[in-house]
Amino acid sequence: MSVTQYAYYPGCSGMGSSIEYDISTRALCKSLGVELLDIPDWNCCGSTPAHASDHLLSASLVARNLAIAESMDVAGIITPCPSCLKNLKTTSLRMQRKAFHDKVESIVERPVRADLPIKSVLQTVLEHCEPEAIASHVSRPLKGLKVVPYYGCIMNRPPDVMTFDDPENPTSLDRLMTALGAEVLPFPHKVDCCGASLGLVRRDLVTTLSGRILDTAAALGAHAIVAACPMCQMNLDMRQSQINRANHTRHHMPVFYYTQLAGLALGQSESCLCMDKLCVNPADTLRLVDCPAAEERTR
């Protein structure tokens, strides 16, 4: 595998609530030959509050990061967070319009080309290595692990901005997990909304929406949910006990980042992958990987 350099935009959550996503992403990229160069002095993309109040504000926050990345010798910008990704891509697209472009440049007071390719880490990994090639690196196959892939609502949408995978029935995570040896169950809620940041102001919506995702995953017999978005992961994992209380359910469903499971399969240690950062303890589930028969015994 050749080494390609990318400007890496970790996103704010990668510094805190999803530090395990950031750490496992760096580990996965390293083992697959994708070299990450942190964008120096990067700033917040503005997330939902910025683009919900002013497109120019959102674009200006993003454009500063684009400008810094453009001064680096890289093949593109990549980020693990779909929300950051959406802001980066939307801004890059909007800046194709000259009037908007000029306005943003005058705000950030530096030239912004907005021409670097911007991708998710998931897309980069799969474009860099075919799932079959990744399979050849697997030292600890996830055999016996039944997972449902959960992409979240914006990893692939809106389709003309994200231009990656099928917007209604994406399969990139499915292919990756299958290559790692896991059994991927057909999941109808792949791109459903988890409730996102409404967890703060309308928790009832999150307990309903995320609750359904957990219900279906459990009904299908999944051992774990595989997520690709810090917001989704937080709602499903950290709020799982809230959801259980609100819905009178007793789910114990670990919610991994796909990078954590990939790292596991590629032989990285559980502590390096920060498995202990997950709120729902994955220990029982992880034991299945070592010893598929364990499931039978626990019954």
Binding site: D166, E168, N169, H189, A219
Partner: protein, 652 residues
């Protein structure tokens, strides 16, 4: 030449943004213009009378009318000056409406452009010569392409009027989409009961020749004298011998052939008669599914056939048909709903198309008229209908309304209640479009008497849950999200141009729109004509249509053919190419480029020379630009005329 110029106001259409009086005044200074005036409506009766009076009073021998497009009124004005005794080709039109007044608001610029266009027309007219039409015989046979209800109506109307009809059908039976329907709206009468007798009439009519399993391969010739090659596809059954008894189907061991007639609800036998009322009722072998044709052994049907009609060695044949007119009635196809990921993209067995549902409703259909879920054969209780699947949606390049889906969905909810009285139908709709006679009353009946619940909004996703399907959508009247658990989801798939419509249009030399629907001659006034003389349209090939409209168009197209054939001879357009013999070097380049085969190579005093067959030439001008010697010229579009027009525009 004494030229008269008439500048039309067209009410305010032209006069609103063009100073017509100033145009007329400018025209008076052009060479050989003896008279110029502006006129309110040149095409009206007083307008035409004014032209005729001016011709007589000022001794005009050529006329320019500056008004609308020649497509609109060139023929009108040619007749006018003909009535005044002039040769009808000593006439030119300047289009100052579509090309000037309708496209700009700057009156001064418009007026200047109109003056330029009039000057061009005058310069061209000065070099016009009198032309005379010749006449040619008409072959009074008509070909109808497509044996759906529109084609059947057209064929029967022509045949009843005494014309010989050749009906070409791509499938092994006529009947088209209507034959697949169980009932029809708004009367809920049995589709095959009303169509069946018409199909039998086709088979029995002495004036109709039916080519089923056949497609038009090429079309040569022109109005009155078309020469059509029809490819009759191999059926592997001798249709002269086949009696349609169906014994072969009972014993055929290959039961995996695709069942196109039943819209792929299940499969069928490799040797097959699509349905009991098929016309012609003849068996056809699907070569992809037949064990004998794929693996070389079996022959069960051949052993069983009481008339020894099976012919495994049969090949396609091509027949030639000479006809004077062609009616295209090729219908439509259904939108491929798998493009919609939100409806499962074809992954869910109990998400079916409306036509598949129709086949399930039909007593002669694959389920014997029982509504069942394809996944487990159980009777559905909650059925969700989703409208506008592939209609009114820019995201799938189908911005148009298919027109009939609102009505057939209402019908299907009524039939569902009749089949399963304790069922509940839900309809997600965008708007209800029911502008036909008794149509809106019908949709109201579906809601009020049959209890179908109509929800105004789109569906965002269909998700399987516990063997059923959760249909999530929006109720835009209530402003709230809705979720309905359904046993079966029926997608009201829209209409799109028939597969291969574009290729056929090119063979027929007619135009088609961006979606593949054939273009009518005029959107209001020539609904069944095309811009190619002698080629007519009927039914959904021109745009989605329901049965009554398709039948009306079938009859309309037939009456157009009858009118064309009411004459024994047709006048040819004399604006065709002609060869200057002294210049022609006999290189034959024109003959090889002519798209109509209108140029023959002849001998003149031992030298090869090109010669134009005037009745075949369509006046396209390809030969004129090909000829290295400038020997072949399109009359009324000669090099000298075009140069004169350019010089008038660019005098310096």
């Amino acid at each position: 030449m004494n030229i008269g110029v008439f500048v039309c106001h067209c009410g305010s259409n032209i006069a609103g943004t063009v100073d017509t009086e100033q145009v007329a005044q400018a025209a008076r200074s052009f060479p050989e213009v003896a008279f110029a005036t502006d006129t309110m409506y040149a095409c009206s009766e007083p307008g035409q009378a004014g032209i005729i009076d001016a011709i007589r009073e000022y001794g005009l021998d050529g006329v320019v009318v500056a008004s609308c497009t020649p497509r609109m009124h060139e023929a009108t004005f040619r007749k006018t000056i003909g009535r005044a005794g002039l040769n009808t080709y000593l006439f030119e039109m300047a289009n100052i409406r579509e090309h000037v007044s309708w496209i700009g608001k700057d009156k001064e610029a418009n007026t200047n452009k109109a003056i330029d266009l009039v000057q061009i027309a005058v310069e061209k007219l000065r070099r016009n010569t009198a032309l005379f039409s010749s006449e040619f015989e008409i072959n009074k046979r008509v070909m109808v392409i497509g044996g759906g209800v529109a084609g059947i109506q057209a064929a029967l109307d022509c045949a009843d009027g005494g014309l010989e009809v050749v009906l070409v059908e791509r499938e092994s039976t006529i009947g088209g989409k209507m034959a697949k329907l169980d009932k029809t709206f708004p009367t809920v009468d049995c589709s095959s009961c009303i169509l069946g007798p018409r199909m039998v009439d086709i088979a029995q009519h002495p004036n109709i020749t039916l080519h089923a399993m056949a497609e038009v391969e090429s079309v040569d010739g022109f109005v009155g004298n078309f020469d059509v090659k029809v490819r009759k596809k191999a059926t592997y059954v001798d249709w002269e011998a086949c009696t349609g008894c169906g014994q072969c189907m009972e014993k055929c061991p290959s039961r995996k052939a695709e069942d196109r007639f039943n819209e792929h609800v299940g499969t069928t036998t490799a040797i097959n008669i699509p349905f009991p009322q098929a016309i012609p009722k003849k068996a056809v072998i699907d070569p992809g599914a037949c064990i004998m044709l794929t693996k070389g052994k079996c022959g069960a049907c051949a052993k069983l056939c009481p008339t020894q009609a099976i012919r495994f060695e049969q090949e396609d044949t091509v027949v030639q048909e000479q006809v004077g007119a062609i009616i295209a009635a090729t219908g439509y196809d259904l939108f491929d709903f798998t493009l919609y990921g939100e409806y499962g993209g074809g992954r869910y067995p109990d998400v079916v198309t409306s036509m598949q549902y129709e086949r399930m409703l039909s007593a002669s259909g694959p389920t014997g008229g029982h509504l069942v879920r394809p996944s487990d054969g159980k009777e559905p209780k909650d059925i969700v209908f989703i409208q506008c699947v592939g209609s009114r949606d820019h995201s799938v390049n189908r911005p148009y309304c298919s027109g009939f889906c609102c009505m057939y969905t209402a019908k299907q909810t009524i039939l569902t209640k009749d089949h399963i009285p304790d069922s509940q139908s839900y309809v997600f709709y965008m708007d209800i479009r029911s502008p036909g006679k008794l149509y809106d009353e019908f949709t109201r009946r579906a809601m009020e008497e049959y209890g179908a619940k109509y929800i105004r909004g789109r569906v965002s996703t269909i998700q399987p849950r516990n063997g059923r399907y959760v249909v999530k959508g929006a109720d835009t009247l209530m402003g709230s999200p809705v979720e309905i658990e359904a046993d079966l989801v029926v997608l009201a798939v829209g209409a799109e141009a028939s597969r291969g419509a574009g290729a056929l249009a090119e063979k027929l030399r007619i135009s088609y729109d961006g979606y593949g629907f054939f273009m009518e001659g005029h959107p209001k006034l020539k609904p069944v004509e095309t811009n190619t003389a002698g080629v007519y349209l009927a039914g959904s090939c021109q745009g989605p249509k329901d049965i009554p409209s398709s039948v009306a168009q079938g009859s309309a197209a037939a009456s157009k053919v009858q009118a064309l054939f009411s004459r024994d001879k047709l006048a040819s357009d004399p604006q065709v190419s002609s060869v200057a013999l002294q210049r022609c070097v006999g290189c034959a380049k024109c003959a090889s480029t002519c798209p109509f085969g209108a140029i023959e190579m002849t001998e003149f005093r031992g030298m090869p020379k090109a010669s134009v067959v005037e009745t075949v030439c369509q006046g396209c001008g390809v030969c004129a630009v090909t000829c290295p010697q400038g020997a072949i010229q399109l009359q009324h579009f000669t090099d000298n005329q075009i140069l004169a027009e350019v010089n008038a525009l660019c005098p310096y």
